[in-house]
Amino acid sequence: MSQPRASTPLPASGASATDLSCRLPGLALFLAAALWLLFGSVLALLASIKFHTPNFLADPAWLTYGRIRPAAGGAFLYGFGMQAGLAMTLWMMARLGRTALAWPGLVMAGAFFWNLGVAAGVGGILSGDSTGFPALEFPSYAAGLIFIGYVLMAASGVLAFRQRREREVYVSQWFLLTALFWFPWIYSTAQMLVVLGPARGVLQPLIAWWYSANLLTVWFGLVGLAGLFYFVPQAAGGELHSRYLAIFSFWTLTLFGSWAVAPALAPLPAWITVWSRVATVLLVLPLLTVMLNLHGTLRGRCSLLRQTVAQPFFQAAIPGFAVALALRILGVLFDAGGLLHLTWFAPAVAQCWLYLFFAMAMFGAAYTILPRLAGRDFPFPALVRAHFWLALLGGALIVAPWAAGGWLEAARESDPAIPFLAVVKSTLMFLRISTIGELLLALGHLVFLVNLGSLVARLCKGLAMTALAEATAETRPAEVRA
């Protein structure tokens, strides 16, 4: 009965120790991330349906649009995005350092606090405790838990880096190490100056914008790119094209990403908004260098790809990255009146970045890492393909209508002869198309969760069988093979 363990294709020595040390935290974090992902996408779907009929679920206060949309965002950002990103970070830190993950128990404790924090945060938003600032809506009691959880998990990642046996530091490692340090700084600043001891007047939204730019552009950008720079060369069977281009991308993304803060019309001194616009345009530098680097890595090797189930996700994440940054830059360049960022164009850019780039990279990472951690393949390979197409189509069916609708909205809004209600109504068709996208995403996330849940269930069953076999074997030593 000890078949399951015998059939596990665990690689030799170093990797095996890494994977075994990451098994419990990695699976737990990704499983929790998948749960929050599904939960968030159901909330987003409900929010989207309200554009078909505003009366839909209007009576309970906790289901009003102004609560479930931020709650969906919080569940996605903190529940899925950062959690999956941290899981990948921890595994990669151990893997690239050829060491075991330091103190997996610490990570589990961190994951506990983190998920408690996300639950408190999402519950807080739904019950009316939101702080009101985009990407920073979680109330202070949730923020404390989140912070503790993050520090515990990040400590393990930093320790793994300190204990590395491979002295050569790979590109992805500094991306991840930087991200690990970035979040506590921005989160503590934002919490202290926006939530706990609020600064005066418009400083509050300014610091909240600063935080969300740092979180979305820098943290998610660094972690997503670390994934691409590791998994894409690996899948192509080669090396990353240029380390120096990667340094340049790293430097420009952190510098300009953290400066591209305030929207054009914000009631702030002009130098802040102008500086932000310039920095946004300069994001063209990381855009070009990352694309050059990945192009160089993949040149002549595309025929070698498509061998793993995860590969399509990485292949989608690359254009996702490029399109998101390009849209963002175009949005600033062609937004003469500053109205575009107040339309659906801005959420379209964010969705493209967070979903078609970051989430796609994380799905690819999950489908690559988790079979190694579990020592077995995902039970339903067909569901992985289904997940891919649902995620890609769903994401595109949200980003494209929002971007197009937002562009039209800005054009119509700048003509005061068109009544504002007519402007709003002209976006409805686009929003209703995006409901299909939200539905596809929710389905895709369900598929992901089912596949991941079955993987974990089979692993547990296998481990239990092995344990049982070992336990029973002791009583009948004669039957054990010689």
């Binding site: 505003p54 839909f56 209007a58 009576d59 206060a61 009003t64 649009y65 102004g66 609560r67 949309r69 931020p70 938003i125 405790d129 939101s130 009101g132 600032f133 985009p134 530091v169 500094w174 190490l177 930087t178 970035w182 700084w185 600043t189 100056l193 926006v194 609020p198 600064a199 005066r200 007047g201 418009v202 400083l203 509050q204 300014l206 610091i207 600063w210 740092n214 790293f250 952190t254 510098l255 953290s258 400066w259 305030a262 929207p263 019309l265 009631p267 702030l268 001194p269 802040i272 009146g337 500053g338 109205l339 960022h341 107040l342 339309t343 959420p347 005061p416 209600l421 709003v424 109504k425």
Partner: protein, 295 residues
């Protein structure tokens, strides 16, 4: 090669630069932004009254800022020459008018002078406006230069000027919003001053705005059985939205606070940071202030 320290320094520098730029420097500049004077000499802004301040919390809790911005944009300003009185030498003034506006016949100029005070000229640059004002004054007329902000938001009546940092000094939290799924609310109190309109609109948006896409906020209201007489604050709703006979809809404290907050939203005081001239009916006080603010 060990890039570790170098990379760490680079990242530290990037984040520190961003922090100095967007947290520390704005704190120094705006962290103790004082009350200011309007162009007419009134202290601005004043803290919102207590119920309105509570209403801001209802606004925050229900995510109103997810759909509504409070930031009026402004694309530029135009300068107006406002003629308030023709003075004693009408012929000279009419001559100046004719010289400044070649197509204007003498008969038309006379008729124009009969319908004062009025805005006569609208130009993009201050110099032209001031030149015209000087010539008119020299001819004995009374004229002043006015500043009028322009832009689509202002043309929609969402505000008279752009929103500036001073408008938010006393609010906590400050929620200028990121999206306009619904209209801008920076001046909704001035635009829609009827509290009952807001009650009805919050309870059933389509009762007030046909085809509104706003979700109803019925949870801010209480449906209760009619007592001996209807409550004075019961909502007067159109039949399609009215409760069944024997019941009435009254605002809960949250709705009252939210409506008070919405009515308190008026960011239209003329400031030195965002000047505008009070419209013509009260031109005497504004004249000197407007002149000072164009500097």
């Amino acid at each position: 090669m060990n890039y570790g320290p170098l990379i760490f320094l680079a990242a530290f520098f990037a984040l520190a630069a961003s922090w100095f730029q967007f947290v520390l420097a704005p704190m120094v500049q705006l962290g103790s932004l004082p009350q200011t004077n309007t162009l007419t000499g009134v202290t601005y802004p004043l803290a919102r009254p207590g119920e309105a301040a509570q209403g801001l919390q209802v606004y925050r809790a229900n995510g109103c800022a997810v759909c509504h911005s409070q930031q009026v944009g402004q694309r530029g300003t135009v300068f107006e020459v406002e003629l308030t009185a023709a003075g004693t030498n009408r012929a000279a003034v009419a001559e100046v008018l004719g010289a400044l506006q070649p197509g204007l016949g003498s008969g038309a100029a006379e008729r124009l002078l009969d319908s004062l005070p009025r805005t006569w000229l609208r130009v993009k640059d201050k110099e032209t406006a001031e030149g015209a004002q000087k010539r008119l004054t020299a001819a004995g007329a009374k004229a002043q230069v006015g500043i009028v902000p322009t832009g689509p938001d202002i043309a929609r009546g969402w505000g008279k000027r752009r929103t500036v940092a001073e408008d938010f000094i006393y609010d906590d939290p400050v929620l200028p919003g990121d999206q306009r799924v619904g209209p801008d609310l920076a001046n909704v109190g001035g635009r829609l001053p009827d509290v009952n309109w807001h009650y009805r609109h919050l309870y059933a948006p389509r009762a007030e705005v046909a085809d509104s896409t706003m979700p109803p906020h019925r949870f801010l209201f209480e449906r209760r059985k009619l007592g001996k007489a209807p409550s004075p604050e019961a909502l007067r709703l159109p039949p399609a939205y009215a409760p069944e006979p024997g019941y009435e809809i009254v605002p809960r404290p949250e709705a009252r606070a939210l409506a008070a907050y919405l009515l308190s939203l008026r960011a239209d005081a003329p400031l030195f940071a965002a000047p505008l001239t009070a419209p013509l009916p009260a031109p005497t006080n504004a004249a000197s202030a407007a002149g000072a603010s164009t500097k």
